[in-house]
């Protein structure tokens, strides 16, 4: 059975560079749009890369600021200074 790693984010301008970075960095991501929110699902693993988000924002970004636009998640979290990953692998 498939195991989807998932992040749900606000659907607003603050979250858009993060959503775009996720779409670019995670091939095969499934997008579910709901009013006010976007749910992104990917088989096994989903990664948010700081550098990729910063490129789209045009300024430096602290990865922990993702807390301001994150609605929900699925998978085990692994976070450091450069990336924020949810996955089901060990």
């Amino acid at each position: 059975m498939s195991q989807l790693a998932s992040l749900t984010l606000y659907n607003n301008d603050d979250a858009r560079p993060i959503i775009d970075a996720i779409l670019a960095d995670n091939p095969g991501v499934r997008v579910l749009k709901m009013p006010g929110a976007v749910k992104l699902d990917c088989e096994d693993k989903l990664v948010v890369k700081r550098a990729s988000v910063e490129e789209r924002m045009g300024h430096s970004w602290d990865l922990q600021e993702i807390h301001l636009v994150l609605i929900s998640m699925a998978g085990h979290l692994d976070e450091d200074d450069d990336q924020f990953a949810v996955s089901w692998s060990h």
């Binding site: 059975m1 498939s2 195991q3 989807l4 998932s6 749900t8 606000y10 579910l32 709901m34 009013p35 006010g36 929110a37 749910k39 922990q64 600021e65 807390h67 301001l68 636009v69 994150l70 609605i71 929900s72 998640m73 699925a74 998978g75 085990h76 979290l77 692994d78 976070e79 450091d80 200074d81 089901w88 060990h90």
Partner: protein, 504 residues
């Protein structure tokens, strides 16, 4: 020599570890008296992982930013009379049910996590539980602030804390949290942290809050998503709790499995209220309860339990029954509230044709067969001035406290009854799930405060319905009964007429 900057993981380790100490004036077991009696064995508290690595200073910074954003929206909503721009006056009833039924549980969660944060002896879970305790306090405060604006215009809201402790259907969520808070700290963490936060709250806060957005309620969607942004931290705490307990000692597995089974089923019963809100009370719909269940339980819960299988943990008992009930639960709950509208502090209605067609489409194998004919009959009876009210007090399930209106697994035409004997008394249940929970802790559940029993025992203001409603502080004729004919409807229609006039 250049000093290398510490990475996030090292910084976090330095900021959060070594903050605790072995007590010397008193033995540790006296300082932490509650973390052994449940039978959970912990060998090494230091093995606790905090995946979010959020230190207290960063926590305050982010929470302050969330609050600034939220209160700017609440201010704008009030200044712009946002209440006149919701999709329909009926929508206000979901806000009423939320504030009376769910917000007080945020406060109970605040108290529960404060207790767990004090009484677990490992520093990792204590920091996480204390942050969650503060989050939950923030949630009820923001919910009261948001909904107080609706209270200026709509009925059924003003007495919410009083009603929460007394009104029959509010005993369903209340007893759920009372049960969790009177358990030991580990059971509380599995009950609320894991079973509720990780497995079930997405169903409440994601599709339902998205529904608030879709229905023009920008204040509720904002507090909902603001609360939910804390929720990803809570979910992570929940999954860490279960991994930690299962990794610490093999003897923990059967205890944790029993709690997972119990709290999954209890949570499923409480969320039946949300099922009804999504399928019946949102005038503009985002997805059906069944669709939400498929995404958030079948798919997300499936991935989770597949992962936890490596510890020997199984999918919660009766998960298959709960999934089958996703076809029925919203309809059966709405039927209960429709029949008892005179005793509920929000309004009910029969769905119109467009709404019935949507339900037929979303529930193709069950709605037309079992529910649509009943709704059409009740709508016809309304037209003939014979609106159906059920004046008998219902028998309640001794565990979930919901009236016994649910049907047998596999047979939606037969009401499900289960019973058990304890100390010479007979106790009644709506399902095998609720019966098993009682049988596991009969001494606890034999003490349940069941609203209907309390009325019959003379503890609820008197023997008649008006006496009881008075004891609930129900404003009869305004808070209760159908939406059609209510003061809410009258006000809403005046606003709409005002808009038409202004436009012409």
């Amino acid at each position: 020599m250049t000093v290398k900057k510490l990475g996030l993981k090292q910084r976090y380790a330095h900021m959060t570890r070594g903050l605790d100490w072995e007590t010397t004036y008193q033995p540790m077991d006296k300082v932490f008296p509650y973390d052994t009696f449940e039978g959970i064995k912990i060998k090494d508290w230091a093995a606790w992982e905090d995946p979010f690595r959020l230190t207290m200073d960063a926590y305050w910074k982010f929470q302050a930013e969330k609050e600034r954003k939220l209160y700017a929206v609440l201010d704008a909503f009030a200044l712009n009379n946002g209440q006149t721009n919701i999709s329909d006056g009926r929508y206000a009833n979901v806000v009423k049910l939320f504030l009376t039924g769910i917000s007080p549980e945020e406060y109970q969660a605040h108290r529960g996590f404060a207790f767990a944060g004090r009484h677990l002896r490992g520093v990792g879970p204590r920091v996480a539980a204390q942050q969650q305790s503060l989050d939950e306090l923030r949630h009820i405060q923001t919910q009261i602030h948001t909904i107080s604006h609706y209270n200026k215009y709509f009925d059924g809201i003003g007495e919410f804390p009083h009603m929460h402790d007394r009104v029959w259907y509010l005993s369903v969520p209340k007893s759920f949290f009372d049960d969790a808070r009177t358990a030991g700290p580990f059971e509380f963490m599995i009950a609320i942290g894991f079973a509720f936060e990780y497995v079930l709250t997405n169903l409440l806060f994601v599709p339902f809050m998205s529904g608030a957005a879709y229905n023009g309620d920008m204040s509720t969607v904002t507090f909902g998503f603001s609360a939910q942004s804390d929720e990803s931290r809570h979910m992570t705490l929940g999954i860490e709790v279960i991994k930690f307990l299962l990794e610490q000692h093999p003897d923990n597995l059967p205890i944790v499995q029993k709690w997972v089974d119990k709290w999954f089923w209890r949570g499923h019963r409480v969320l039946g209220l949300v099922a009804m809100m999504m399928d019946y009370m949102l005038p503009k719909k985002v997805m059906s309860w069944k669709e939400a269940w498929e995404i958030y339980f079948t798919e997300a819960g499936g991935a989770l339990f597949q992962d936890l299988a490596r510890y020997g943990l199984k999918v919660p008992k009766y998960a298959d029954i709960a999934t089958a009930e996703a076809e029925h639960i919203s309809h059966q709950n709405w039927a209960i509230f429709y029949q008892y509208t005179h005793a509920a502090a929000f309004h009910t209605w029969m769905p119109d044709k467009e709404h019935l067609d949507w339900l037929s489409e979303k529930y193709p194998t069950t709605f037309d067969k079992y529910y649509r004919p009943r709704w059409e009959m009740w709508a016809q009876m309304e037209k003939e001035c014979k609106r159906f009210y059920n004046m008998a007090l219902p028998m309640l399930c001794n565990t979930c406290q919901i009236p016994m209106g649910y049907t047998e697994p596999g047979d939606p035409t037969t009401i499900c009854f289960r019973e058990t004997q304890f100390r010479g008394e007979t106790y009644h249940f709506c399902s095998d799930g609720c019966k098993d929970i009682f049988d596991g802790e009969p001494e606890k559940f034999a003490q349940s405060w069941l609203p209907v029993h309390q009325i019959f025992q003379g503890n609820c203001g008197g023997a008649t319905v008006p006496d009881v409603l008075n004891w609930y502080r129900m404003n009869v004729g305004a808070d209760n009964m159908d939406y059609v004919g209510s003061p809410d409807e009258k006000l809403w229609n005046e606003w709409q007429a005002g808009k038409v006039k202004a436009a012409s």
